[in-house]
C-alpha cells in the first residue's frame, strides 16, 4: 500500500458520503443514508489500516496522516449525529469538511515518509493523537451545528445538542492533554514545557471551557456560534497554524 493509491480510496469514500448526504434529504428513514455514509468511512478505514500495516507504524506521524484521521472521525461523528437526532443537513456539511481535508491530502500531501523518532515510540502515542483527532472532529461538528442554528430559526433545545457535542469534545480534549502530560513526564521529565503547541492546545482547552461555563449566561444563538467559531479558530491554530509561527521552529511538536 502506498500514497499513490490514496486518490482511488478518497474518491470512493467521497462518492459514498455524497450519496449518503443526498439520500438524507429524500428519505425519512435514516438507515440508508447512515449506512451509505458509514460505507464511505469504512473505505477510508481500510486505507488507514493498510497504510498502518505497510508502514509498520501507526499513520499518525505527519500532518497528512492526521488529516486522514480527521476526515475519518468527522464522517463518523456526522453519521452518528444524523442517526441520533435526524438533522438531514449534517451529512452534507460533514461530507464537505471531510472531503475538503481529503482534497488537501491529494493536492498538498505533506505525507513525507517519516520514521518514528524514539520519543514517539510510546504507549501514549496512538491514544494521545487519536483522542485529539476525535475531539477536533466533534468540535468541528459542533461548530457546524451552531452555525446552522444561528443562521436558521431553530428551537432553543437544538443548541443544547450542540452543547452535548462540545461537552464530549472537551472531554476528549482533556483526555488528550492529560495523556500528553503523562507522556511528556515519561519522555522528558517535565509535565508541561510551554512548547508552542502545548500553549495553543491549552488556549483551545480554556476557550471551550469558557464556552461550557458561560453557556448558561448566553441567550443569543449567534453569540454562542461566535464563541464556538473563535474556539474552532484556536483549534485550527493548535492543529496546523502553529507550525507557521516563528516560535514553532524550536517546537518539539512540529510535524
Amino acid at each position: 500500500m502506498s500514497w499513490d493509491l490514496f486518490i482511488y480510496f478518497a474518491v470512493a469514500a467521497a462518492l459514498l458520503w455524497v450519496a449518503g448526504a443526498v439520500t438524507a434529504y429524500f428519505r425519512k428513514d435514516t438507515a440508508p443514508a447512515f449506512f451509505l455514509s458509514l460505507a464511505g468511512t469504512s473505505v477510508l478505514l481500510v486505507f488507514i489500516v493498510l497504510m498502518w500495516v505497510s508502514m509498520k507504524r501507526p499513520p499518525l506521524r505527519t500532518m497528512g496522516e492526521t488529516r486522514l484521521w480527521y476526515s475519518f472521525f468527522l464522517s463518523v461523528a456526522g453519521a452518528v449525529i444524523y442517526r441520533k437526532w435526524g438533522f438531514d443537513w449534517i451529512l452534507s456539511y460533514g461530507t464537505m469538511m471531510a472531503v475538503m481535508f481529503l482534497c488537501i491530502n491529494i493536492f498538498k500531501p505533506e505525507i513525507h515518509t517519516a520514521e518514528l523518532m524514539p520519543a514517539l515510540r510510546s504507549v501514549w502515542f496512538v491514544p494521545h493523537v487519536t483522542v485529539y483527532m476525535f475531539s477536533y472532529a466533534l468540535l468541528g461538528a459542533a461548530m457546524i451545528l451552531s452555525f446552522v442554528f444561528a443562521a436558521r430559526p431553530h428551537h432553543d433545545a437544538d443548541l443544547t445538542r450542540c452543547d452535548i457535542l462540545v461537552r464530549i469534545g472537551w472531554a476528549f480534549l482533556s483526555m488528550g492533554m492529560a495523556m500528553g502530560a503523562l507522556w511528556a513526564k515519561d519522555a522528558w521529565g517535565d509535565w508541561w514545557t510551554w512548547d508552542p503547541k502545548e500553549t495553543w492546545a491549552l488556549a483551545t482547552w480554556l476557550g471551550y471551557l469558557f464556552y461550557l461555563h458561560a453557556r448558561p449566561l448566553i441567550r443569543d444563538r449567534r453569540v454562542a456560534f461566535g464563541v464556538l467559531f473563535f474556539c474552532f479558530l484556536l483549534l485550527c491554530m493548535t492543529w496546523f497554524g502553529v507550525n507557521y509561527l516563528p516560535s514553532a521552529q524550536m517546537s518539539i511538536h512540529t510535524y
Binding site: P118, W170, A171, S174, A181, D186, W188, P196, L217, M237
Partner: protein, 341 residues
C-alpha cells in the same frame, strides 16, 4: 521561591483559606460571587487571553501570570468546596474535572520550587555525580552514575535522489529510477587509497552499499554509496541525467544506556534507560536525554536528565482524575443538568 517544608505549609494554609471563605460565603451571600458562574467564566476567559498572549509572544511568567493563576485557582477551589458540600446534587463529571484540575494546578504551583533538574553527561566507564541545571549552574547529585554501555537501534538505510534543480525525493518513490542493492555492509570503512568500501568493525564505520540504479529509459549505472561518518567522507553516485544518489544516515529507532547508580550509602543499583522509560531512584528519576549526535552509534557518552520531583504522585493523581472525569463526561454528557445549588 518557597520550597519544602514551607511549600507544603503554604498549600495547607491556602486550602484552609479556601474552606474558610467558602464557609463564610454560606452566611454572606456577597462572597458567593467569588465562585458564581459569571466569576468562573471571567477567570477562565482571563486565563484564555493570557495563554493566547503567551502563544503569540512566547513570554510568560510575571505578575499577570500569578494574578490570573491565583484568581483561577481561587474560584475553582471555592467551586470545588461547593461541589463537595452539595455532592448529592452535583453531576459527577464536572466535580471530578474540578478536583483533577485543582490538584494539578495546586501541586504544580506550590511544588514548583521543590523540583530539581540536572543534565549529566556520562562517559563510558567514568563515574559522574555532577550535573548542570538549565541555567548552566553546577548541581551536586546525591548519587553517582556510571555508564556501562550505550546502544542505538536504527532504522534501515534509505536513499535519496537529488535532481539537478535541487529537488530531493526518496529513492523508493522515484518514478524515474529504480535502486537495487547488490551488496550491503553495515560496518563499512574506506581505506586510504581505495575507492570501494569494505567491512570492518572500526570506530566511525557506517553503512555502505553497492547499488545498481536503472532508469525507465533503459540507462543504468552501478557504484558505491555511503552515508559517511565523522571519520569517513560519504560516497555519492552520479546518475546519467545529472541527478545524484545519496544514502541517508539511518535514523535512530531507539537508544538506551545501561548504567550503575551508587547512592550516598554505597548501595548500588543497575538500570537500563531508554527514551520513555526512565529509571526511578526515590524521588529522583533518570531519563535518557541524548548522546553525541555527531558520532552517532560510536557515541562515547550518554546525556541523562536527572529530575527530582517530590510532587510527582500528586500531579499524576490529578491527571488520572482528569482522565477519569473525561470518561464519565463522555457517557453522561447527554443528560440534563441537576438542580444545582
Amino acid at each position: 521561591m518557597i520550597s519544602y517544608p514551607w511549600s507544603a505549609l503554604c498549600l495547607l494554609a491556602y486550602l484552609y483559606a479556601i474552606v474558610a471563605v467558602y464557609v463564610m460565603s454560606l452566611s454572606r451571600s456577597s462572597l458567593k460571587t467569588l465562585y458564581s458562574g459569571k466569576t468562573c467564566s471571567i477567570t477562565v476567559a482571563a486565563a484564555t487571553v493570557m495563554v493566547l498572549v503567551f502563544g503569540f509572544t512566547g513570554i510568560f511568567r510575571g505578575v499577570i501570570y500569578y494574578a490570573v493563576m491565583l484568581a483561577l485557582m481561587g474560584s475553582m477551589g471555592l467551586a470545588l468546596a461547593a461541589d463537595i458540600h452539595h455532592i448529592r446534587s452535583r453531576r459527577l463529571a464536572p466535580v471530578m474535572a474540578h478536583l483533577g484540575v485543582f490538584v494539578v494546578m495546586a501541586a504544580g504551583v506550590f511544588g514548583y520550587a521543590d523540583k530539581q533538574s540536572a543534565k549529566v553527561t556520562a562517559y563510558l566507564g567514568h563515574p559522574e555525580s555532577v550535573g548542570m541545571d538549565a541555567e548552566g549552574r553546577r548541581v551536586d547529585l546525591p548519587f553517582m552514575i556510571t555508564l556501562n554501555s550505550f546502544d542505538i537501534e536504527r532504522y534501515p538505510v534509505r536513499y535519496s535522489i537529488t535532481a539537478p534543480d535541487g529537488t530531493v525525493t526518496a529513492a523508493e518513490t522515484s518514478r524515474d529510477w529504480k535502486v537495487t542493492e547488490l551488496e550491503k555492509i553495515d560496518m563499512a570503512v574506506m581505506k586510504p587509497g581505495s575507492d570501494s568500501w569494505e567491512e570492518l568493525r572500526h570506530v566511525g564505520a557506517e553503512p555502505a552499499s553497492l547499488v545498481k540504479v536503472e532508469g525507465t529509459d533503459g540507462r543504468s549505472i552501478t557504484g558505491w554509496v555511503a552515508c559517511g561518518s565523522f571519520m569517513f567522507a560519504p560516497s555519492f553516485l552520479e546518475l546519467p541525467d545529472g541527478s545524484v544518489l545519496s544514502m541517508n544516515t539511518p535514523a535512530p529507532q531507539s537508544y538506551d544506556s545501561k548504567v550503575s547508580v551508587t547512592d550516598v550509602k554505597g548501595r548500588k543499583k543497575s538500570f537500563e534507560l531508554s527514551v520513555n522509560h526512565p529509571a526511578r531512584l526515590g524521588a529522583w528519576r533518570i531519563y535518557q536525554a541524548g548522546y553525541d549526535i555527531k558520532k552517532g552509534r560510536w557515541s562515547e557518552y550518554s546525556v541523562l536528565q536527572c529530575v527530582r520531583d517530590p510532587w510527582y504522585p500528586a500531579i499524576a493523581a490529578g491527571l488520572w482524575i482528569i482522565l477519569a472525569s473525561a470518561v464519565v463526561m463522555m457517557f453522561t454528557a447527554g443528560r440534563g443538568r441537576k438542580n444545582e445549588k
